[in-house]
């Protein structure tokens, strides 16, 4: 990890972590024990042959390393940056049992960045099958399904409602964690497999469900883009944002560069972010770069924060104030918001997830003065398209129910990623999409 200095990185939206140098990467890869039964591979949701690519990195053949990764993962520059490796590949690395695991994420990122410099590797494609598959949503799941299916010889039409492909990679994750030109390069590589991308198409509105069902198979990767609000009094006052809106305005619409770009944003002088996940960290760090004094408020304890540890410590370094065991109860203000009334929380009995259940401490109200409030308390599946498919079986939280192969209750219709699991990680969405693509292939070959 080579992070840019705090003073420098707070002045812009450039990437914080500068990555490894070639000698560092080779030295790190050299430390891999090349296990006979590598646990790291089973820890990776898309099962990249990690020892094999590390061997090539150690030998200095970065292009070959890239080709090995690309066999399993078309978006390595993205995954290397945003995967929670500590609970995946690196969490399983045998070296981590006694000391530090191999920095697999950093190395994957290094290889992908080298590949972009040296020229992108295009994986092999099978001959055309003449069958058509519709993929809905161009986020990590949809891009992965598209790439896999295109490589298997299917004609893939990828529908995206926004004006850019990438889903959360373009509107959600800020460029200081994931530079947008890197996202674009990897998406272009997927499209170069012959995937037909249709932007500005909202399926269910611009494409009828009937048209959709005319494809030989359908993969739904519409994500969990429906923001939850907290239902607080005053929540509709000017200055109150969902994290989705706040991040979309900056990441996708470049409101940080207003008025060069047309989309405005409220640059609060005091900003309160509610939530403890990666989205909350992203929103807080974006607000900080827009010049605000930022307070992050979370209802549980610091050790319960679901965000990646590295991003929590970066947020702290960048001067974000953390208020733990507290929750907002009211947005104060008349014409615009002026503050957030909060209440302290006590940790009580363990809940179903094994975490202590937070309970309000009576009479412990306190106020944080603020002119911007960002709710980053989670998102649900966008009900729009799946509401158009009434036969689609759904779970309690509106998620599409799928079997272990991504098959839904509707014939020909598969789903994967956040639309099935609720808001999770980029790599889990990619893993699910890959499984579904294989199941689609099996289904169409058996027909």
């Amino acid at each position: 990890m080579h992070d840019r200095s705090i003073e420098e990185r707070l002045r812009d939206f450039g990437e914080v972590d500068c990555g490894m140098t070639a000698p560092e990467a080779m030295a790190e890869a050299e430390c891999c024990l090349q296990c006979k039964k590598p646990l790291c591979v089973s820890g990776c949701p898309v099962n990249i042959d990690i020892p094999a690519f590390l061997r090539e990195v150690a030998a200095g053949d970065f292009k070959k390393a890239a080709a090995i990764i690309k066999e399993q993962n078309m978006l390595p520059a993205i995954c290397g940056r945003v995967c929670p490796q500590e609970v995946q590949c690196e969490g399983e690395c045998i070296l981590g049992k006694k000391a530090k695991p191999i920095a697999i994420g950093e190395l994957e990122r290094f290889v992908a960045d080298e590949e972009r410099r040296l020229g992108m590797v295009t994986p092999q494609k099978k001959p055309a099958t003449g069958r058509r598959v519709a993929v809905v949503g161009a986020g990590p799941a949809g891009l992965t399904a598209s790439a896999e299916l295109a490589r298997m010889g299917y004609h893939v039409t990828l529908f995206e409602s926004l004006h850019a492909a990438g889903g959360v990679l373009v509107y959600g994750i800020p460029s200081f964690r994931l530079p947008k030109e890197i996202v674009k390069a990897e998406i272009d590589a997927v499209l170069s497999l012959g995937v037909e991308l249709r932007l500005n198409h909202l399926v269910g509105r611009s494409v009828t469900t009937q048209e959709l069902l005319s494809y030989d198979a359908i993969f739904l990767g519409t994500g969990a883009g429906l923001p939850y609000f907290m239902g607080l009094p005053g929540e509709n006052l000017p200055g109150v944002y969902s994290a989705n809106e706040f991040l979309t305005r900056v990441n996708l619409m470049r409101a940080d560069r207003f008025p060069v770009f047309d989309t405005p944003i409220k640059r609060g002088s005091r900003v309160v972010v509610a939530g403890g996940g990666n989205v909350a960290m992203d929103a807080a760090r974006v607000a900080r770069r827009l010049g605000g004094k930022v307070t992050l408020i979370y209802r549980r304890r610091e050790e319960d924060l679901p965000a990646r540890i590295a991003e929590v410590s970066r947020a702290k370094e960048e001067g974000i104030e953390f208020v733990m065991c507290a929750n907002p109860v009211k947005i104060l203000g008349d014409q615009a918001m002026t503050g957030v009334e909060c209440i302290k929380m006590a940790m009580c009995d363990l809940d179903a997830s094994g975490r202590p259940e937070p309970k309000e401490v009576e009479g412990s109200h306190f106020t944080i003065d603020a002119d911007v409030f960002i709710a980053a308390i989670g998102q649900g599946p966008n009900p729009l398209l799946i509401g158009e498919l009434p036969e689609l079986k759904r779970g309690r939280r509106g998620n599409v129910i799928v079997d272990e192969n991504g098959r839904t209750s509707m014939r020909k219709v598969f789903a994967g990623g956040d639309v099935a699991t609720g808001a999770a990680t980029v790599i889990l969405a990619m893993g699910a999409a890959k499984t579904a693509a294989r199941a689609i292939d099996r289904m169409l070959r058996e027909e």
Partner: protein, 281 residues
């Protein structure tokens, strides 16, 4: 990229554009809207689909800020970078009986397509259009053609009835039984005019125009309070029951970016002057 087929003024500060957008044109229904983004640096703005012809859609807008001023400066042959749609729920079209459509200013643009859909569904349709003065009246002939009966009002009496569209609505209600009403115009006009039908308990639809970003339900910028609940106008609307909308919150939220909108427009106008009025940035 979407080609502009036709562009021109309809009234003072009111402009129409016909744009080739087959994916929208082939699926658009009355009451739906599109999101435009003019170019790479542009913002996303919602515009009602006011007519469809083959592969093309028509939008009508008032030049109030940077993006609409820029749009009005574009001409046939120019392109819009992104058009997403059709978006929003279609109007609730069924056989009501007698329907009155009330348009205020540029809101009138939404009415002909709804009028035609209601007629097709077997309704008797009465159109009422109000404007500040005669120079601001749009689509008069089209509305006359689409409705069984048509009335005009101007605030200053320069054309038609001297007064508000709400007065004409009251007169119509006094004259005959009205089963459903659409009111589309400035928020304050929708708020005030909805009160006309409330005592009679007549089903009243209004089309809300809050600030939007994506227009697909993923951000909540367009949230409005309807019947005490938070709704997203882009996916739950834009049409809602006018008797249950919290118009004050809507107006308050619509003013949120006023200072920024001013900065943006001033910068654009300054640029237009420097470039001798050319709109090609």
């Amino acid at each position: 990229m979407f080609r502009i087929e036709k562009s021109g003024p309809l009234a003072d500060k009111v402009h129409e554009l016909w744009v080739n957008a087959p994916h929208v044109a082939h699926h658009a229904q009355a009451g739906q809207f599109v999101i435009f983004r003019i170019d790479e640096k542009g913002e996303r703005i919602p515009l009602t689909i006011s007519a469809v012809d083959g592969d093309a859609i028509r939008v009508i807008f008032m030049t109030v800020g940077k993006t609409t001023t820029h749009l009005a400066a574009l001409s046939a042959g120019d392109h819009i970078q992104d058009i997403a749609g059709p978006l929003g729920k279609p109007s609730d079209i069924e056989k009501f009986g007698t329907c009155v459509l009330v348009g205020g200013g540029v809101g009138t643009a939404s009415l002909p397509i709804i009028a035609r859909a209601l007629k097709t569904a077997g309704n008797r349709v009465i159109g009422i259009v109000g404007a500040r003065n005669s120079d601001l009246i749009i689509l008069e002939d089209e509305m006359r053609g689409a409705c069984d009966e048509f009335h005009l009002s101007t605030d200053d009496g320069s054309k038609g009835f001297h007064g508000f569209a709400a007065d004409l609505l009251k007169q119509t209600m006094a004259r005959e039984k009205v089963d459903a009403v659409w009111i589309i115009g400035p928020t304050i006009m929708m708020k005030v005019t909805s009160e006309v039908t409330r005592p009679a308990g007549i089903k009243t639809f209004v089309s809300l125009n809050p600030v939007m970003v994506d227009g697909t339900g993923m951000c909540g910028s367009c949230r409005v309070i309807v019947n005490g609940e938070t709704k997203f106008a882009c996916v739950d609307g834009p049409e809602f029951d006018g008797h249950t909308v919290d118009f004050n919150t809507l107006m308050q939220r619509s003013r949120m970016y006023q200072p920024e909108e001013k900065v943006s427009l001033e910068k654009f106008q300054e640029h237009q002057c420097r470039c001798g009025g050319s709109h090609h940035a």
